[in-house]
Structures are given as C-alpha cells and as structure tokens.
C-alpha cells in the first residue's frame, strides 16, 4: 500500500503519523467525516476548531482510545489499526488528555511507570529504587525539577502536566498529542511548557497541539489544521496565515440564514447588577447587569467560567467577594434558597442531573420548587390547586405531554426543558439564568425554546443566556458579554456583534494585540 509522502524543503519526508478519510459516528452524532491529517517529525501541528468540531475525537482515534468507523491510519507510512491505547503507545503515540489522567495518591515515579514497574527478587517485588531513578532520568530530559517521590496530588497543575509529558515520553513516544495543555496554566507555566515543547521538537518528536488560544498557536506551531462540524476545513502554514483567516476558517457559517429576534419590551429598569464578583479561578472580577425585558448573552469557550458565574450568582458556589443587587437593592446570597427568594432562577446545562426528577411526572416537577404554597394545614397537598397551576403552565409554555401525569423522562428534550422553565416561572422568578438552554435539543424544538425565551423577556423577565453556540448567541441576545479564563473580556451590543468579533474576545486576541 502506498502511503502519502509530502515534500518538506525539497526532500520527501514520510509523515510520522497520518490519517486518511477517517470517519467516526456516535449514536445520533456524526463526529468525524472523511478527515485527513498528517504530522511530520519535529513539527508542532496545531489543531483548531469550535467546541464539538471533532478535534478530540480525531486525536483519540490516533491514540487508540476510539476505533474509526472507516478510513486509515498510517505510522511511518505503514497502515496501522489500534485496538487499545497500549497498541498506539507501542508504536510511539502518546496522548495527554485534557482532563489529566493521573493517580493523585501515587508518587510521580509511580504514575509515570504505572503498568511497567521494574521488578526485583525473581519478579516478586517492585524495585522502587530503579523506578525512581528512571523517573528522574525522564524528568531530567525535560529539564524540569520535580522529585519523583512526591505525591502527585500535591503538585501544581503545571507540574502535573510535566509528569504527564514525562509519562508519554517514557513510552519512547515520537508523537505527543496535547489536548488543551494550557487550559489551567499561568503565563510563566505556559512559557515553561513551550520550552519543553521546543526541546522535544529539536529532537524530532512530532507534537499535535490542540488549543483555542490564538496567540499560543502563533507562538508555538508550524502548521494549523482547522476543523468544523466534524469535517476538515484546511491546513495552513502558521507563520504566513493571519489570525483573522484562521478565525474565519473556524467560524465558516454565513450569517444570512439567521434571523435576529428582537424584543419589544422597554429596557430601562436594571433587574440584576453584579459588581466585581470573585469565586474561584474561573470567576474573577466579573461585573455585568441585565435589565427587565432584556436577553443578555454570555458567550465564550468551554471552561471560560460562564457556568461558574451563574452558579456564584445563584449561591450554588459561595462567592469570595462581590456585590449583587436585585432591582437596585443589594442582596446577600449564600445559598440557592436565598437566590430563589430574591427572584433568581438558574436552569442548569445538565437538566437531567440538576434540573428534573425525571422519574416523576410533569405535575410533581412543576410544583417541586414551591410545594409549600400548595399545602393545606402545612401538611396536605392541595391537589386541585396544583392541577390548576400545572394545567396553566402546560398551556402557557405549550408543553407537549399527554397529561400532567406523564413521567418527565418520556418527554422529548425540548419539552423537558419547558418543564424546567415552568418550575421556575411557577416560583415567580423574574431573573432567569439559562445555561445552554438548547443543548441536546433537536432543531425544531430549538426555535420553540427561542420563542419562549423571547416571550419571557417581552413579559418583563430579565434573562441571562449562556451558550457555546455563536449563531444562537447572535440570534437571541440584545447584548452580549464575552468571557475568557474567568474574566469578562468584552461587551458587545446586538448590532455590532459578529462571530469573528466574539471569537477574538473569547480567545483573548485582545491581550495579544495590547
């Protein structure tokens, strides 16, 4: 079989790894469609795309975590198929997952050599001395200072990352895949990581670098491959391609088919004012306000801290500092109960885990958050009043259910979402946080949720909508706040917002330009 051979500096070089026409589907999702990818020795190849573009899926296929439905993988020009991560490791492909896969209770050396411990005394006992010595050697090759006997859980995230890299290299990896390695690192730590990457590069190791951060891509990578919706958009040279070009490759969609929904309500009265809110690493000095009748879009990439802001305002996580005013009056919110009392509702991105009791019926779910108002003598349920209220909301929100006594888990995603909305409306919340309101909902039901959000705003509710889908943000929001790494990096009005503009703020283009 003839593998692809490309030209580099006039000399034919066989790629370390290449993927040809690789496709992969999961139930209901086409994750990858005929994607090509190749990595040269000593190359840092950046892989970019929006959330859900298929980057991680492609890399997991190269690392043997998933098997492709179709297409071929070549290593050194020879076709390969991996049944497990171990087989990929055997030919020199190591992956560092976005969620670090370390055993926190074990030492650095024990982590690096898990599954390959050196033995002594006829192979009965572990040779801890040899283990620590080899670990020390691999760490020394990275020029990092970590005692191999340290418990991994006590290390900083940056050091843990180094341990993962040492582990990957200790399999004699010639390919190291890094999935968003800098997500939790500070600037100094990123610089240290880049030194290590350049060192690996000089020794001929090929590196696949997945990241959302434009400035990093420009600093470290040789080539950039952009993916979108599970398909390959293109591979370009990093040095000669502008950031704007890369962003437009990532975004791709035309805006023509999106109709903006604008509201009618007058937006003067500020419903919620949040000032300098701090809560953990992902909520740093966050200030914003939302007015009655307004939909405020919260844009940003996954892990930017949007959900964390909502949770802090809602009292689900205890804020360290900051002020929250509802209708001009400062309120102290230390628990969700206090938030609800102040009229704030939060609709979680994970309906099934945090929003609904899916085994119970529609009626029980709708009245769950304020059952105390439907009690006679504080004990007995007022069946008739509950039925009336529930019927009112089923009609108001157009919940498609055979009856109020249908189990929620038997409803479609869109209708489940409406039940959650009903639950909060029934509590008279007039400030509502919607976290990814259309996640896992089919296209038809999405537009119905959009209509519902708009009509809620038109009746004077203040709505904060967190969404990772840019078209959704642009279509629904009256104003857009963009977050990156726990900070608000910009605010855009509906008229001036574009996908490119939001993407630049979300990938911290601003700090680089400054």
């Amino acid at each position: 079989m003839c593998a692809n051979v490309s030209l580099q500096g006039g000399v034919a070089v066989t790629p370390l790894v290449s993927a040809q026409k690789v496709s992969k589907s999961f139930p209901g999702v086409r994750a990858l469609h005929e994607v090509d990818f190749e990595l040269q020795p000593g190359e840092v190849h950046a892989l970019m795309g929006e959330n859900g573009a298929g980057k991680s899926t492609l890399m997991k296929i190269l690392a043997g975590v998933y098997t492709p439905d179709s297409g071929e993988i070549f290593v050194d020009g020879k076709p390969q198929s991996f049944a497990s991560p171990r087989e990929a490791q055997a030919v020199g492909i190591g992956i560092i997952h976005q969620e670090l896969q370390l055993m926190n209770h074990l030492t650095v050396a024990q982590n690096i050599f898990i599954g390959r411990e050196p033995k002594q005394v006829f192979g009965l006992l572990l040779d801890e001395r040899a283990l620590n010595a080899s670990a020390r050697e691999w760490l020394a090759k990275l020029h990092v200072v970590i005692d191999p006997r340290t418990t991994v859980g006590l290390l900083t995230v940056a050091k843990q990352q180094m341990v993962e890299i040492a582990k990957a290299l200790s399999y004699n990896s010639r390919v190291v895949i890094m999935d968003e390695p800098t997500a939790a690192l500070n600037d100094a730590e990123i610089a240290e990581l880049f030194t290590v990457i350049r060192d690996l590069k000089s020794r001929g190791v090929g590196i696949v670098y997945i990241s959302h951060k434009m400035d990093e891509i420009k600093r470290i990578s040789d080539r950039v491959t952009v993916m979108r919706d599970g398909e390959l958009v293109g591979t370009v040279d990093a040095a000669s391609t502008s950031i704007e070009t890369i962003i437009s490759m990532m975004v791709g969609r035309s805006l023509g088919d999106l109709k903006r929904e604008t509201g009618r309500a007058a937006r003067e009265e500020t419903a919620l004012e949040v000032t300098r809110l701090n809560c953990g690493p992902l909520v740093r000095d966050v200030s914003f306000n939302v007015k009655r009748g307004e939909i405020l879009g919260f844009a940003g990439l996954m892990g930017a801290g949007r959900t964390e802001v909502a949770r802090a305002v809602f009292g689900a996580d205890r804020a360290k500092s900051g002020e929250i005013c509802v209708h001009g009056k400062p309120v102290a919110i230390r628990s969700p109960a206090q938030a609800v009392a102040a009229g704030i509702g939060y609709l979680s991105e994970d309906r099934k885990r945090f929003g609904l009791a899916t085994g119970m019926d529609v009626s029980a779910n709708v009245v769950m958050a304020h059952l105390s108002e439907f009690l006679a003598m504080r004990v007995f349920l007022k069946k008739r009043e509950i039925a009336e209220t529930v019927a009112k909301f089923i009609k108001l929100l157009n919940i498609r259910t055979p009856s109020a006594h249908q189990q929620v888990k038997l409803l479609s995603g869109g209708n489940q979402q409406k039940v959650v909305v009903a639950k909060w409306l029934a509590r008279d919340c007039d400030i509502l946080f919607f976290d990814e309101p259309t996640r896992g909902i089919d296209v038809g039901a999405k537009s119905e949720i959009y209509k519902l959000l708009r009509s809620l705003a038109d009746t004077g509710k203040a709505i904060v909508m967190i969404s990772s889908e840019l078209p959704e943000i642009l279509r629904m929001s009256d104003r857009i706040v963009v977050m990156c790494e726990g900070r608000i990096t910009g605010e855009l009005s509906a008229n001036e917002a574009t996908q490119e503009g939001i993407m630049q703020l979300a990938t911290q283009r601003e700090t680089m330009a400054a």
Partner: protein
Amino acid sequence: MSLSAISDASGARKPRRLVSPEALQKLLAFASLLLLLGYFSFASPEFMSFDNMINILQATAVNGVLAIASTFIIITAGIDLSVGTLMTFCAVMAGVFLTFWQLPMWTGIVAAIATGAICGAFSGTLVAKAKIPPFIATLGMMLALKGGALVISGDRPIYFNNTENFYMISQDSLIGYVFPQAQIPNAALILFALAIVASIVLTRTSLGRYTFALGSNEEAVRLSGVNVDAWKIGIYSLGGGICGIAGLLLASRINSAQPALGQGYELDAIAAVVIGGTSLSGGTGTILGTIIGAFIMSVLTNGLRILSVAQEWQFVVTGAIIIMAVYADNLRRKRA
C-alpha cells in the same frame, strides 16, 4: 543535565513537614489505643492481667484478619460486605473435608483458603466484568454464602472431632515452646505474620500498586494500558483467600464450624479499617492502621465488659468511637 542536579529539589507545593499527614493519622490512632489501654488498666486491675491480654489477642485475630481482607478492597474504592459470611462458608468447607470426608488436616486448610479465593474471584468478576456496584455485588454474595453455608452443613454445627489437632491452629502457641512464659496463641501470631505479608504485598508488589492506583483513578490506569479487570478480580480473590484464613482461625478457636455465625463481622471489619485511617473513597490506607483499628475495637469491647458496662451501652460507645474517628480524619484532611 546531570542527575545530581535535580536529586533533592522537590516540586511539591507545600514544604515537607516534620510528620506527614498519613503518619499523623496512624499516630493519632495509636495514641487513642494507648489511651484506651491506659484508661482501662487504671480503672480495673483485672484488665492488664496476662490472661486478659491473651483474650484480647484471641478476640482481635479473627476481626483483624477480616479487616486486612477488607483493607485491600476498600483501597480500590470498593467494599466487600461478604467477608463475614464468606469466612463462615470457608469454615464449613473445611468441615466438609475434615469431618464429612475425613481427609487429612492440610486438605481442610487448603479447601478453606481456596474456597475463599474462588468466591472472592467471583465477587471480583461481578464487579469488574458485569459492572455491578461492589456494594450490591457483595451484598448478594453475603446472602448467598450465608444460605450456602446453612445448606451444606445441614443447618447444624460441624464439629472437628475427627481432626484432633485442628484446635491447635488457633489455640496452641508455637512461641510457647521456645519461651514458656509467653503463651501467645497462634491466632495472634498468624494475625501478625499475615499483617506483615499483607503490608509487603500492598506496598512492594504490582498487586499492591494497582490496588492503590485503581482507588485513585481507575480510568487513568486503564488508559495506561493496564488490564484493570484482571487486577480487580485478583484483588477481590486475595481478599477472599484471607477470609478463608479467618474462617480457619474462628473454626479452630471454637473447634467447630457454626453455619449461623458470620453476618455482622463485615461491619466490624469495615469499622476497623476506617478507624485505621483508610478512606472509603479509595486510594489511601495502610495495614498497620487497620491492625491498630482492629485492636481499638477489641480493647474497647473487652474493657467495657470488664468495667461491667451493659452490652447495650457497649454498642453505643463503639458506634460513637467509629463516628468520631472518621470525623477526626475529615478535620485533618481539610487542614492538610
């Protein structure tokens, strides 16, 4: 870069302390044990008598051995509720070999331990392959083995009358032949020997390493290419084999296999493990801690009895001690 350049630099965020948090927990447990011993000796002269010490050692042996078995399982972030009834089932199997079939004593010993290992492997398979949560899998095993022991024995105790030396496994004292003053029963010697072996297995062999690794982050171990299921089955099997040893100790001590006994022992074993500082969420734990935990349990029971505290109140005190031990551990973790 030379190795010496990095040899002693630590990448840890926190500076080394005089006493590591793990050592502190063991120290605390050990201090509580000494405190209990001190209090009871002060309160009653009878407590410190040689005979009573032997009583305590005998009483600790069975629970201590079961607790060692539980320690392995709990470090993997699992739980084994079947250790008590498995112990009885193994004792009954020894009775089948020795009393029903009148085979030589060594076959009974092998039968008990092998039965334990096989049943443990079965529990492990349920957990690893059938993906049944450990709590449920071993709850099922607990009841099934209880029933099995009753069926096989015909719901009657099996006496080891045909095996004259069977009582010696637990009640004789090997060390007594050398030092006649120190008639420490074999049961206690077996407990200590097993504790040392188990400690070596846990800290210095692959099986021990994977025990901790599974409890710390199972997915990471799987992604490192380790056959996670096989090791898990192996760990449950080892635990089962140790239950077989406990079965022999108990049967030898009362010179019979009592099929109705056993249920409830698993909770004492878990309590000893937890008092010894092993976390139910997995990843940490020591055999030494477990042994100290087992002694705290038996010293408490013995001492309260000598002080003529009513049995009802003994339960209350023991319960309170378990809760306090884990709460103290939580406080310590929060500070660390």
